[in-house]
Symmetry: C2
Subunit: 318 residues, 2 copies
């Protein structure tokens, strides 16, 4: 499908990655630039500038796909609401298509990471799969009957906003709820769990790091756990337990063949994913307790690769 | 589709309803018999007996659909696990087809109620809808892109087993988890909430009923609320709040056009559904907060009508 070169853009809250993807899943050209703090107009200009740069490098690329961290209206290519970027209400697709002169398709970034993992990664060969990206927040993607599922108008698959603890912490950003899994197992939540554990156990490695530097984050948590700190390991396992309960709900709802976990927090590896997987094995109904729980294979490039695949699909559909 | 007469059977934990459906959604013949406590062999014989009775009454009915309260293996027509009936591991479809001599299709009862509501009821015209049946337990059905969605092997759509309270009550029956919505807003859970409220407020109408009779159930709760008892109303609203949080998760996941609520507990009407709907409006992400939450239209016959529609579809597919 993707022998034809296509441009993929993955717009995040802090950076924009644009690449040209040929014989997928490899990018033949790519560049990353900061995206934080851009106004609506500037973010579209930035996207256009980087897409044009990709086209100059690879003039054969005649279509583009863009992933954005926002709920999307699929028909109109409009960004509805985003936690991390000033793009709410912006008709990203049409503004961009006009500026770059080639067809541009936009979708939610979680959907596109799911597409990439289904085509080339940990969900390859599966007809039914889910993906959660554990980053600053938690994004999601749904793959059903061999296609991305987006809901009535393209805004669904917000898998980070599943309630797990009805009395839990307020969900950050634009989500009005509390106790969502995003507030309990995202990278941000792992940082909070690290601070709480460090305060509670000042004699632990994590506690010493807090005393030394006045703060600890998810990276300290990872380092302390790798160094054998039981307090750090326990904090990660707690997040894995929370995450696992969301996966139990998702397994019972979808009976997917595999649930793929991606995003920055996957640096915690099996320390985080192991307890989540155990939760599914123990607490999902039979036969959903056999759902595989796997770490994403494509790494940080998944969003860009999925965006390119999507851009090609949409261009060929028209 | 259903001008051809088809037999629909709705097997529950306490009764079996079998009907002949012609110009749906009306049954032209139907009969209900008790099903509680039957052995595996007897439950198949009971189904065969009632299907044969329907065929004698309407010899033109040459296919049947059966809904069972169990996870199902769609390819083999096997019942995997049921909370209320001794049919675990039973190849219901093949045993029955052999006994009655016409094609029989089986599916989960929640899926079939969803099918009926999508074809003729509260989800008519929707491409994306969900259904929860609030009875002894909570069953579910998923309608995506105009079709029933069943998961990888047909066992999915267990919408009652979504976790809402990670520290909640153990889920009844064969579910190994705790804090599932089934343990918080089913008919059984409403009975428990009634008892708790009555014990806490002995001076309320509900409390007086408890003192008089030593027990209160969901029916007392309904009667007391209708009589103006604020304690009873509050207990129902609490269940509606729990239920609403599960609906928020489902809205964020699926972005359905409508979520349909059916089953016996729907006798509580807007006292239960109103707070659940408000929860979705307030706590789901934009635009999922616009998901409609509606009461099922077909009443207790939905399962049988859906079973007949499914039996016809499967017979025509072969």
């Amino acid at each position: 499908m993707e022998q034809v070169e296509t441009i993929g853009a993955d717009l995040g809250g802090t950076k924009l990655a644009v690449g040209v993807v040929g014989g997928a899943p490899e990018a033949v050209w790519q560049e990353e630039v900061p995206s934080r703090g851009y106004s609506q107009e500037d973010v579209v200009n930035l996207l256009a500038q980087q897409i044009n740069k990709a086209r100059e490098a690879h003039p054969g690329a005649t279509a583009a796909g863009v992933g954005v961290p926002a709920t999307i209206d699929y028909e109109t290519g409009l960004a509805i609401a985003s936690n991390n970027l000033d793009i709410d209400g912006l008709p990203v697709r049409d503004l961009l298509s006009e500026k770059v002169g080639i067809p541009v398709a936009i979708d939610n970034d979680g959907n596109l990471a799911m597409l990439a993992e289904a085509l080339y990664g940990a969900a390859k060969g599966a007809d039914h799969a889910l993906l959660l990206t554990l980053g600053t927040g938690i994004g999601g993607g749904i793959w059903l009957n061999g296609e991305i599922y987006r809901g009535a108008t393209g805004a669904g698959a917000e898998l980070g906003h599943i309630v797990v603890d009805i009395d839990g912490e307020p969900c950050p950003g634009s989500c009005p709820n509390r106790g969502c899994i995003e507030s309990m197992a995202s990278g941000t939540a792992l940082g909070r769990l690290a601070r709480e554990a460090a305060e509670k156990h000042p004699d632990s490695e994590l506690g010493r790091r807090l005393a030394e530097r006045g703060t600890v984050d998810a990276k300290d948590l990872d380092a302390a756990a790798r160094g054998g700190d039981g307090v750090a390991t326990e904090a990660i396992e707690l997040a894995g337990h929370f995450l696992g309960q969301a996966l139990v709900s998702l397994a019972n709802i979808f009976q997917p063949q595999v649930i793929v976990l991606g995003g920055g927090a996957i640096a915690f590896g099996e320390r985080l994913v192991g307890p989540a997987r155990t939760e599914v094995e123990r607490y999902a109904l039979d036969p959903m307790n056999k759902t595989r729980v796997e770490i994403a294979k494509l790494g940080p490039a998944a969003g860009m690769i999925g965006a390119a695949a999507f851009g090609r699909m949409e261009a060929e559909r028209d």
